[in-house]
């Protein structure tokens, strides 16, 4: 199971890659594996607001539907346009081309409450 060291995680299996005052958000490899084949992703429109721990979208696999939770609060600056025609990118490249949204952080301190890679690995082991 791949858990990149440069990301932070939520217990609901989202990751965030911080770059200055912005963050790119997606779901983890563990999450996409649990979901199975992703066939549809519903994302918020740019300029909408997301708040920490609230749902910002939905990911649908053949088997199940799952809410997406924002790791931190902020304004959506981009939503991955490729996921509309290629939702399977979430399965094949969950930390790369399968990213979901980019946000401008409204409270960077919120990052401190997220899981470190080590804590996230522990969390996954508990669920396995």
């Amino acid at each position: 199971m791949e858990v990149p060291k440069d990301l932070r995680y939520t217990i609901e299996h989202e990751w965030i890659r911080i770059n200055g005052n912005k963050g790119v958000i997606g779901i983890t490899q563990f999450a996409q594996d649990q979901l199975g084949d992703v066939v549809f992703v519903e994302l918020p429109k740019p300029d909408s607001q997301v708040s920490k721990e609230s749902t910002f979208g939905v990911v649908e696999s053949v088997k199940t539907v799952s809410d997406l939770y924002a790791p931190v609060s902020g304004k959506v600056t981009a939503a991955n346009p490729d996921l509309e025609s290629q939702p399977e990118l979430v399965n094949s490249d969950s930390y790369g081309k399968g990213w979901m949204i980019e946000i401008e952080l409204s409270d960077p301190k919120e990052i401190d409450s997220l899981l470190s890679p080590e804590q996230y690995i522990e969390q996954c082991e508990k669920e396995q």
Partner: protein
């Protein structure tokens, strides 16, 4: 998700094999079953385009023997047993007196005084009790042999050439909905040309303790056909593309076979059977609702219990729904009033806070590949 079996769950003889093959296992109808291996879409397309193997040992089997077996079955089921020849198979339902469905099942006829029924896993105990109850006045022996019998399904256009490699007797003469007793690599098997996928293929019944080695043998022999093990998730998408009803979802004790589009297995002109009066009455007065096929016209995944709208009015809810890997769209089944269930009419499916436009279609959603 734990991969260890709960003590309350039954396991098939292939439980360890499934784990080795990397299956995701989950509780299903009281059994610990493989839901998927490589991925639902890949497994689904493997069956549609080539061949796949399923462990369906959770299915229930009931053996019926005795001089009055035929008489009992005629009373028990809605279809007409009279038309069966030896080694033929009949799809049917058995109903309660009120016309609701006890279960849908396959009847296999060895001879006039020996049959065996293949019933749904989740219903097998209920079915056994029901059959025993109806059988009480008849001179028959009814046995639940579910725990002795394993079942493998080999489905797809390559199923026959693959199995022929392992089987001495010719399989080309096993017609659709017929079975044969054969030896597959020294294992005594009953092989039937049936399935639940809409593809040509076979279902093999054999003793529990032989299933693991035969499963492995078929996987090995199937390498040249790119065979894959297929989980229950793909079994569900395959069956729904065919519009086959699923007990507990599309057919229940509250639905009649006529409403479910299974009127073709209800023979009102045969001798009396349980539920006949009610079904006859329903046919005479006309149906008020029927099970319709629904195809989304926009993106989204319909799922069981999602509401179906006609403009702003809720007119039903999905009994089954999924993403169709063959069509790349959402499909489902829903009971609608007979007027609304007209092919071509428009409805919409409530998916979260959106109404996704959809069209009424006549199942199957994709053409069948069975050998009729």
């Amino acid at each position: 998700m734990s991969q260890e079996p709960s003590t309350a769950l039954k396991t098939t003889p292939l439980f360890e094999t499934h784990k080795k093959l990397g299956a995701k296992l989950a509780p299903f109808a009281g059994w610990h079953m493989p839901i998927q291996y490589a991925g639902v879409i890949q497994e689904h397309l493997c069956v549609r385009n080539g061949v796949g193997i399923f462990d369906v040992s959770h299915m229930g089997e009931i053996d019926i023997r005795g001089k009055e077996s035929k008489k009992l079955l005629q009373k028990l089921i809605t279809n007409d047993i009279e038309k069966m020849s030896d080694h033929s198979i009949l799809y049917t339902v058995m109903c309660y007196e009120n016309g609701g469905i006890v279960d849908d099942l396959l009847v296999h006829r060895y001879s006039e005084d020996h049959y065996f029924l293949c019933v749904n896993a989740g219903n097998s105990e209920k079915d056994f009790q029901w059959v025993q109850k109806i059988a009480a006045p008849y001179n028959v022996e009814v046995r639940d042999i579910s725990s002795e019998i394993a079942q493998l399904a080999i489905q797809g256009k390559d199923a026959e050439p693959l199995l022929q490699k392992l089987c001495d007797a010719p399989l080309s003469d096993v017609e659709y909905y017929h079975f044969k007793k054969v030896k597959i690599h020294h294992n005594d098997c009953l092989i039937s040309r049936t399935g639940y996928t809409g593809e040509d293929g076979f279902e093999i019944y054999l003793s529990f303790n032989q299933a693991e080695s035969l499963f492995q043998m078929i996987l090995d022999a199937g390498k040249s056909f790119d065979i894959q093990p297929i989980g229950l998730a793909a079994r569900d998408t395959l069956r729904l593309e065919m519009g086959y009803a699923l007990y507990g979802n599309d057919i229940t004790s509250d639905t009649s076979p006529l409403e479910a589009g299974l009127g073709w297995v209800v023979k009102l002109d045969k001798e009396d059977f349980v539920g006949r009066e009610r079904l006859k009455n329903q046919k005479e007065t006309g149906l008020t609702r029927k099970l319709a096929g629904i195809k989304l016209l926009d993106r989204g995944v319909p799922r069981p219990h999602y509401p179906v709208y006609s403009e702003d009015e809720v007119v039903g809810e999905l009994t089954s729904g999924t993403f169709s890997p063959s069509l790349n769209v959402g499909i489902g089944l829903c009971y609608l009033s007979t007027e609304r269930a007209t092919v071509g009419s428009r409805v919409s499916v409530g998916i979260r806070n959106q109404k996704v436009p959809a069209e009424i279609v006549k199942p199957p959603f994709v053409p069948t590949g069975v050998k009729k």
